[in-house]
Symmetry: C2
Subunit: 562 residues, 2 copies
């Protein structure tokens, strides 16, 4: 596939030349130019989103099991990257790729990555990150203020106060959630007399000291899997993440939360509620919990109130979205991802704490870095070495600005509405959530089947005949199972077709609750996606869906009769 | 400082143009070119390593507390980055910067970062990372084989086997260590009958089920702070990381380890040893534990054997360093950083598990990504979204190659020897560790003081007079405290001078053990550092040291007499 690589004779002089600070940047520019053409071609290229190569074929390309012996020229490795990697990468920037939160990014992000790599600062300590430590604190202040809106004096005092941290830049949202729950855990089991706190003594000693038999975290059934994972990592136990059901709009059912909390707070339960987690933009449907109500319950029970706003948080930049987040300003901590609605490349998360005191609970130090009296940001993070990733949102909040993000989100909202209209007009689709933040879930369902289910659904409340209700209900469930199978098949067929991409999940919170419904999921954040793109996507899905339906129709007929 | 920024009118058309896939890459090339000149200037610029600006002055540059309101042109933000950030960044690539593990990187790394950002793959799942998932597995196999050297059949079976993971690419070494200890914790408290395992049930239930009162992790006093931090995060308690003293060569004292293990294993202790952590390249001194002996003790006690090779691991690429790592192939897990001896930019860690079964213990799944039967690498990681960082070591192992890394490490070793010679020849320095992996610790101590301490040190064993021994000992300790103060002052003065940089730490493991000795610490990995550079660094330290000594000398004279 590639021409045989030129043999390289390694010498120290050759290697030294590879290290930066060349006398002239010509060589660099030359490669850079080539590379840009290469990247450009990749994006222009028609063909599939995921490349047509199969996974077994890819396995055979990458099956070298040991470190290669011979060095290779940069240009040969770049050619190899082109043919083996770039050609078989996922075109996440394609306007037809509307299945995940990963999307197109502004091209200046690539320039920023060049700066970050060239400076190679390590955010862990001031000795390896001078201005960049200050940039990080400034960015944290911006977002902290956006979320919590504390007083001007508060921010003036703390924006560059090295004694405290208002938040951490993390490697991603999972680490942001983990950091928040780590702090929540410490707050629930703090030092007390000779007891040095959970962090020092461990979970077992902490529970014993405080006389609890169990410590739990509450989140809705839409909670991101990282919450459960965090509970496992933190030694609280995944089983102790209690999922509260959601309403038809995918928001935590506050009444059920209240009941659950009341039961857990009975003395005989010996249970400490460490945290209640609200979601501001669920991963599957983009809906937002009623944060102000959750906050109230947290204050009543003394639980830490964390908001997972990894997906939706950045929408607070735009005034018209603020009401959705009502109550977030009373949260104890909030997680936001830069690589989602801030349109930064992979990856960067942020966790912000309302109180400047909270991160002190997990402060640590060592002799050689992050000394106790240092100004090093690494004193507060779960990660150790960290890149200067914060430059990306810092610069992009300047370049795109609040105004620009407003335009992008309005466009995303419009596209979400457009897609809903196109699907509704087609007839063979059913939309299954009321989108708040640019995520629409729906499924393929031939018109007559959809109408039949709707007719039964309308008839049900008026029917007195219990046998008939039971029968209709059984039929609805049976047909939904059939349509579930159809949508799984459709999703797989769309992956094979590969000209468009949406993702797939299973929801219990649709109009058919509590039955699990397989849904297609579109995330509409790419500003290069147009009305025309969406029409093509739906038309492809409809065409393939109808083809597949032929295999399902006989079973459907039998169900109607049976 | 900057010219007033041009006012930008945001429109969707303007914003769309910022997103990649431009019709021609001209604009990009233009900015890219400018940027490279900017970066180039930064590295060529003489002046200080950390820039002379004070931290309070920097605070005033970055004191905007809210998200800026108005958008700004890319070129204006780049100019701002230049004057505010690049000019005040730490020149970690400078040959005179020999204080931390952060160093110069080969320039092709910047090209690779461009590719990574442009492709914007998210390694969490195959739908957002096609070829890149295979690259990651291939890289993991390379390093796994390097460390564990299992059979060819083993690697052929597993290199691209999506059912297992031989290791994870992590955001950094701290996360690599955390992942290893998470697995170790699960192995110590696995599912058992109706008990679903620690991860599901939590630490308290696990200890209760297995009848333990305590679970501990053992590491030497040279252990990286991330081990303690991990024990805190995992809910085991930082207090339960037990530090075993080191010998004069900064290696864990195996005799003391054995004694400690024996005591801990007494039934009345009710203690589970979760893991023993060996270090392959301590952060402070670069020395390597006797891994084969540690492994033996682990096998006897059933503890997980983790090796923190974040610093030294990559040295295994070179045959002459393999003997240092003897026994690592029997470890259960090994952590290695790419941004250290693999010369990648910030940041990327790796954790490798000898058994393909170990990572199954922390496998997780969800409905919308990382489905149970998927091939997604995200099923095994603590992080969620992850960048395509593995491209950097993958490409650099091809470009630099084993041979090239060999040359780089040989050069590093030579420089370490050179620095020791220069310091010894100067007279006013004392070196304090026997370097194995490119880290030298030493201190400034005027020749006559050094000789006096040496004379007493030699006399001590021959002296029968107990009063005299006590007196000499007291004097040595007093003078060491004085010299400690001198070296703290010297380090601060060097930071102010800022033409050179070494770091500083405190060691109890020098020839003055157990007294704490303040040491300067040089990490000699930059291939652009030369003999001449080192001479200048030492001459600067000697000059400033002698100046400072004047203030300390009177106290020294009093001590001699007193």
């Amino acid at each position: 596939m590639n021409p045989p690589a030129v043999k390289v004779k390694s010498t120290l002089a050759y290697l030294r030349k590879l290290f930066i600070m060349p006398d002239s940047p010509d060589k660099f520019i030359e490669f850079g130019h080539e590379l840009l053409e290469m990247i450009h071609d990749f994006f222009q290229e028609k063909g599939g989103i995921h490349s047509s190569i199969t996974l077994p074929e890819l396995s055979r390309i990458f099956e070298q099991t040991a470190v290669p012996d011979e060095p290779v020229l940069i240009k040969d490795v770049l050619a190899e990257i082109r043919s083996k990697i770039i050609d078989h990468s996922v075109k996440v920037g394609s306007p037809y790729y509307i299945g995940h939160m990963t999307s197109a990014i502004p091209y200046f992000m690539i320039l920023l990555e060049m700066i970050i790599a060239a400076l190679n600062q390590n955010q862990v300590k001031i000795e390896t990150a001078k201005a960049s430590s200050f940039v990080e604190r400034e960015l944290v202040s911006w977002l902290h203020r956006l979320v919590f809106g504390r007083t001007d004096a508060f921010y003036k005092r703390h924006v560059q106060n090295p004694k405290v941290a208002l938040g951490n830049v993390t490697s991603d949202g999972s680490l942001a959630n983990l950091t928040a729950l780590l702090v929540a855990r410490e707050k629930a089991f703090p030092p007390d007399g000779i007891f040095p706190g959970l962090r020092m003594a461990g979970v077992e000693a902490a529970m014993r000291h405080y006389g609890y038999g169990r410590a739990v975290i509450l989140v809705s059934t839409r909670g991101h899997y990282s919450i459960k994972k965090a509970a496992g990592v933190l030694g609280m136990g995944e089983e102790n993440v209690l999922n509260i059901p959601v309403d038809a709009n995918n928001r935590m059912d506050v009444r059920k939360l209240r009941l659950r909390v009341r039961r857990l707070c009975r003395p005989e339960e010996k249970t400490r509620i460490i945290a209640i987690v609200g979601i501001a933009g669920t991963t599957e449907t983009g809906n937002v919990d009623e944060l102000h109500k959750l906050g109230e319950i947290c204050r009543e029970t003394g639980a830490h109130f964390h908001v997972d706003a990894c997906w939706g948080g950045a929408a607070m930049l735009v005034d018209e979205y603020r009401p959705l987040f009502k109550g977030i300003e009373r949260a104890d901590s909030v997680a936001v991802d830069a690589h989602k609605l801030l349109y930064c490349p992979m990856t960067m998360g942020l966790v912000l704490f309302r109180s400047e005191k909270d991160l002190q609970l997990i402060r640590h130090s060592s002799q050689y870095v992050i000394r106790r009296n240092s100004v090093d940001t690494g004193r507060f993070t779960i990660e150790g070495s960290r890149p200067f990733a914060c430059l990306k949102p810092w610069a992009s909040l300047k370049i795109i600005g609040k105004e620009g993000y407003g335009l992008l989100f309005r466009q995303a909202r419009k596209l979400t509405g457009n897609l809903k209209d196109i699907l509704d007009n087609c007839g063979n689709f059913e939309t299954l959530n009321v989108p708040e933040l640019f995520i629409l879930t729906y499924r393929f369902i031939p018109e007559r089947v959809r109408e039949q289910l709707a007719a039964w659904g309308e008839a049900l409340p008026d029917t007195d005949d219990k046998t008939s209700v039971k029968d209709m209900d059984r039929k609805i469930r049976k047909i939904n199972r059939l349509i579930n199978g159809l949508n799984v098949k459709l999703h797989k067929a769309l992956r094979r077709d590969d000209t468009t991409f949406v993702s797939r999940t299973t929801l219990e919170s649709t109009r058919y609750a509590p039955q699990n419904i397989v849904v297609l999921r579109a995330v509409l954040v790419n500003p290069l996606t147009s009305m025309q793109t969406l029409k093509e996507i739906v038309s492809t899905q409809n065409r393939i869906g109808l083809q597949l339906w032929r295999d399902f129709e006989p079973a459907y007929e039998r169900m109607l009769k049976g």
